[in-house]
Amino acid sequence: MSDALAGLLTIGVLVLALAAVHVPLGDYLARVYRSERHLPVERFVYRLCRVDPGAQQRWTVYALSLLGFAAVSVLLLYLLLRLQRVLPLSLGHSGLPPSGAFNTAVSFVTNTDWQWYSGEAVMGQLAQLAGLAVQNFLSAATGLAVAVALIRGFVREGTDEIGNFWVDLVRSVIRVLLPLAFLSALLLAACGAVQDFAGAHTFTTLEGGDQTILRGPVASQQAISVLGTNGGGYFNANAAHPYENPTALSNLLQTFLMLLIPSVLPRTFGRLVGSPRHGWVLFAVMAVLWTVGLTLTTVFEATHHGTVPREVGAALEGKETRFGVWNSALFGHSATATSSGANDASYDSFTPLGGGVLLLNMLLGEISPGGIGGGLIGMLVLAVLAVFIAGLMVGRTPEYLGRKIRQREITLVALYVLAMPFAVLVGVGLALAFPGPREAILNPGPHGLTEVLYAFVSAANNNGSAFAGLTSGTTFYNTALALAMLFGRFLPMVLVLALAGSLAAQQRVPVSSGTLPTHQPMFAGLLTGVAVIVTGLTFFPALALGPLAEGLK
């Protein structure tokens, strides 16, 4: 079977599978967050943590709960990584250095999973299981919680309460992530991903040399890593490692899992606000951006014009021959269009323009379909922005879903839109302005610029994929990228919660034929335009000096 045919079949199966689960899973999620009932196991957790699940929180309390929870998570994970040596199951690894432990703790709590280290060289099994995997669940649940809180802002009327963070968090883990991750882990293991506590084994190769092969609880780790759009790998090679991603089928499954929850959240949104058509509009924008991005990535990867790719017939440098160009493009595109950041190929070796699309996926703010929770949030914020600009053109104070976009709302939206470019541009500017960080760039010219840009874009968008080619384990990058991750994660979340509070406090404006229709294809087109132009205008210079300068002939 040719690479293209295999690729097209994979894409076809993927799209069909996502379409099949869209409505049932989306509706299920809506029921989860609307339900009044608590499962016995949830009640047990609430009692254990002394949380009153019936209590409602104002946005400030919700935000403080979230920030407090994140702070405690960072601290615990930091300690776990630092003290690894004296804890069991360390496989003999010593503790991480301070800046490295801080970077990794922040990275996993922020759902980024940026990995400056290589997993097999520094992480013991306890750190992987009790540290990283736990945060893979909790950070994904946090994203879902904030998305649901924002939706409540559009649902509730005349109240300052937007739900209960602890309830949203616990339900996300117990009713959504755990069952799906369990099922996915079984399927991955069935495909051949390893799942045991065997640790390192040393073999004698055919040539007579020694090779050490590490095994461990990989399938379970990888399942939540892709399902929760975390993307952190058990091994340094991430999903290119045969133990993590053994076959084309497991590759397809992982791509499916990355896209699964982000792509059904618009449906959940539509259900919860009582207008599935509004959900469809957001989904359509995500789908269009994903499809266009995939087409571009595949075209750029498949029509290579370098000397070596032309000779060997494909741009195969840095790609697994198990997956080929098409599936690598599909996986890479989906990993950057969600906030997963997993990789089954070296993104550094993508063609300049193909790598540029991966960068662009993240620069869009990850909305195609974006991270778990974060994608929907980003799309809703852009929808509010689009309504504000275009809504005036129908002669009314702009409104979305019956909520007026006034001074307070637009301020929050503007700050949200500012946060990511701020972290990226300031980070890149600083990195290039000082000689130390500049010397960490391994490639000269525009490719080197793309490497630095990519690192900060990946961190600030909590993607976590790496373009490599950058010695990023230095104190500067570990600290700067950790700050970019924190800034890019929690500032937007607080702003979004404030927005939810402000929307929920409003009274619904009835919809009439004078209202800007936000449930029709025209609005989907407008929203796509706003998303592309807002990003394009902010990052055009950087893209011109990086991927475009490298990729144009």
């Binding site: 600009i389 002669g395 104070t397 541009l425």
Partner: protein, 711 residues
């Protein structure tokens, strides 16, 4: 509507020249800082000027010059808008003469004081030929007043104490009689003063939506500031450090200067359009709210129907000749000077050729005038014949009193009498049964169709009184009003007709006029309740009113337009005053509010869409030296790097001037659904905004790249 400013819509280059001195004054940074986008340009101009002086080059000076021009054009836009207002203010101010007031002392004596020294509560006497010294309320007397200084309307109006026409405005002239006015506003805060400061834009405050838009523009400015500031390290890394001049030029081209420059002009012009239609708004906030209105409360009389009802048909009782009824009706109406009465005479003349009998010439008759108590008018002939016409309950009572047997008050036994019975769904066709019963049904049927039945009865000497028949009076719905309502309906605005009529009549008129809902037998409290209910559902309500009992509702409504002819209480309660006292104007006010918002949105979209082309001009110009392949981005094929940057800057400045007319006039507005409007405006200002600068910059470059100092 009075055309106070026949040339108000026009815009000529002469206005630009006239506004130049003001525009220059606005270079003061304390003024510029109020518009953050323009302030950034101002700083950019300073920076480029300094660096051009330090490192002299033609390019540097050209950029600096055009950046200053950008600020100038922004100032010019605001100055032109203000200038147009100021011209009106001057005209108003000329009418504001120094007056001498005749103040009444508490002891009843009179003293002469300058008008400016009056305080609230003072009572002043004004006689024919004198100017009213300040805004106030007539507490004694009746006078005709020339209010043309305010309204432009030359016909005098009547102002009298104790009714809904008691308020007078300072600066207007009493033409006849003598009135005593209690001053209700301090001098300098009167109507004329408010109007002057309003059109001058002196007291202009930013409206909520304008503030929100400014926040968005400021954040866009910050984004581009970041993008440009961090471009330098990237450029340096790429081996092509940029000059401060080029970076500043890029920044100014990217930040939304177009909308930033025109935003305040749009707001001033919006208020101006309102003033041109003789409406004064207390604040810009009210104008914005007008665009958002969901529900319009419209008084039936004067807004939906002509002020008076007209007789359209004589329907005789079963044993009466039609002509007999017509003759009696005409006779009884000869002395009736109300429009209804006159319409009866006209109908009798047109339909039955009854003419020639005019009040003065008819002899041997005594006319019985209408009183609120009897609710009848009529005529007593010398031969003993008596004719009465009036509301059905009143006439029936008269017939009974005169020994006759009228139809029952209501066949359904409604205690309120025929004036308020619920409509008969089958109309007059269902009339059946005995004659008297039949007449009763007819009365109900007329009410049900939105008409007003007037009964005519006569009594001949020695015989019991009998009902001759019914005159059908109809409300005449204004021509074209139902099309206006259909328009409003398409725009998503729901219309509610407010009337004192009974529900059946109200329903019929509502159907004919095409209003969405009606409030029948409305009391001021009902009106207030309706407004509160609408607002509780999240809807914004607009209404007009003139009476003191309208004041609470006017205050409660989001847009309350008081009629200038109305009471002071109403004018104080509302947030707009219509000097023409034309209640239909509410619809125009809504349109002005919408147009204001649309203009803002359209120019914002245009401004942002412009940036795409500017990037394609400037980025290749900056970096083709080091990365020749970026020349592919030079899709406009601009002459040279410097020419590209300069052309983008020039386009950026010139487009402001080009859009001043649109900012002042407002973008074209047609009442259609939001979806249609969005499609059109997105096509014109969104796509137009993308394409125009590609063409514009290319055309400018064709000239600029030939300049000698440009490389």
């Amino acid at each position: 509507m009075t055309a106070r400013h026949p040339t108000g819509h026009g815009f000529s280059p002469r206005q630009l020249a006239a506004a130049l001195p003001d525009a220059l004054r606005k270079f003061d940074p304390r003024h510029t800082v109020r518009a953050p986008v323009i302030f950034v340009v101002w700083i950019g101009s300073l920076v480029t000027t300094v660096s051009a002086v330090v490192n002299p080059s033609f390019f540097g000076f050209a950029i600096a010059g055009w950046l200053w021009a950008t600020v100038l054009f922004a100032n010019l836009a605001e100055a032109v808008a203000e200038g147009r207002g100021r011209a009106q203010a001057e005209a108003l101010r000329r009418t504001k003469k120094e007056t001498v007031a005749r103040r009444l002392r508490p002891d009843g004596g009179e003293e002469q004081v300058p008008g400016t020294q009056l305080v609230v509560g003072d009572r002043v006497v004004v006689e024919a030929g004198q100017l009213i010294p300040g805004d106030g309320e007539v507490i004694d007397g009746v006078a005709s007043v020339d209010e043309s200084t305010m309204t432009g309307e030359s016909a005098p109006v009547i102002r009298e104490s104790g009714g809904d026409r008691s308020s007078v405005t300072g600066g207007t002239t009493v033409l006849s009689d003598r009135i005593v006015v209690r001053i209700t506003t301090c001098p300098g805060e009167g109507f004329l003063d408010r109007m002057i400061s309003l059109v001058e834009g002196a007291s202009r405050q930013k409206t909520p939506n304008e503030i929100a838009l400014n926040i968005l523009l400021a954040s866009l400015t910050i984004v581009f500031l970041l993008a440009v500031a961090t471009l330098q390290p990237m450029a340096a890394y790429s081996g092509r450090q940029q000059t401060l001049i080029v970076l500043t030029a890029l920044l100014v081209c990217l930040i939304p200067t177009t909308i930033g420059a025109l935003l305040s002009a749009i707001g001033i012009a919006g208020m101006d359009r309102l003033v041109q239609r003789n409406v004064i708004a207390v604040s810009g906030r009210a104008v914005e709210a007008a665009g958002d209105v969901n529900t319009l409360l419209l008084d039936k009389t004067g807004t939906i129907t002509l002020g008076a009802r007209h007789a359209t048909e004589f329907i005789p009782a079963p044993d009466v000749e039609e002509r007999e009824l017509a003759e009696a009706a005409q006779l009884s109406s000869l002395a009736d000077e109300t429009p209804e009465g006159r319409s009866i005479v006209v109908l009798a003349k047109n339909e039955y050729g009854l003419r020639g009998r005019e009040e003065g010439r008819v002899t041997g008759v005594t006319f019985v005038p209408f009183t609120a108590h009897t609710r009848m008018s009529g005529v007593d002939l010398d031969d003993g014949r008596r004719i009465r016409k009036g509301a059905s309950t009143a006439v029936m009572k008269w017939v009974r009193d005169q020994g006759g047997h009228p139809p029952p008050d209501s066949v359904r036994g409604d205690p309120h009498g025929a004036d308020s019975v619920r409509g008969d769904p089958h109309g007059a066709d269902s009339v059946r049964g005995d004659p008297q019963q039949k007449l009763g049904l007819l009365v109900e049927a007329i009410s049900g169709e939105g008409g007003t039945p007037l009964l005519v009865a006569e009594r001949l000497p020695d015989r019991p009184a009998r009902v001759l028949g019914v005159i059908r009076l109809r409300d005449i719905v204004k021509a074209g009003i139902s099309e206006r309502f259909a328009e409003l309906h398409r725009m998503g605005i729901s219309t509610v007709m407010i009337t004192g009529d009974n529900p059946a009549t109200a329903a019929a008129i509502a159907r004919e006029a095409g209003v969405d809902r009606y409030l029948a037998e409305a009391t001021p409290e009902d009106k207030m309740d309706l407004i509160r209910r609408e607002q509780a559902g999240g809807r914004l309500v607009a209404m007009t009113g003139d009476g003191t009992n309208d004041a609470p509702a006017l205050a409660q409504a989001d847009v309350g337009v008081a009629m200038n002819a109305g009471t002071m209480a109403a004018k104080e309660a509302g947030n707009m005053v219509d000097l023409d006292s034309n209640p239909t104007k509410l619809i125009e006010i809504v349109a002005i509010g919408k147009q204001l918002l649309i203009t803002r949105g359209a120019l914002t979209t245009f401004s942002i869409a412009n940036d795409v082309a500017k990037y394609f001009a400037i980025i290749p110009a900056m970096f083709t030296g080091v990365y020749p392949q970026l020349g592919h981005l030079n899709v406009m094929n601009l002459g040279s790097a410097q020419s590209a940057v300069l052309s983008a800057v020039i386009f950026n400045a010139v487009v402001i001037v080009a859009l001043i007319p649109i900012a002042l006039r407002g973008v074209r507005y047609r009442p259609t659904s939001a979806a249609t409007m969005l499609r059109r405006n997105l096509a014109v200002y969104g796509l137009g905004g993308l394409v125009t600068p590609f063409v514009g910059i290319k055309l400018i470059d064709l000239v600029v790249h030939l300049l000698p100092g440009i490389r």
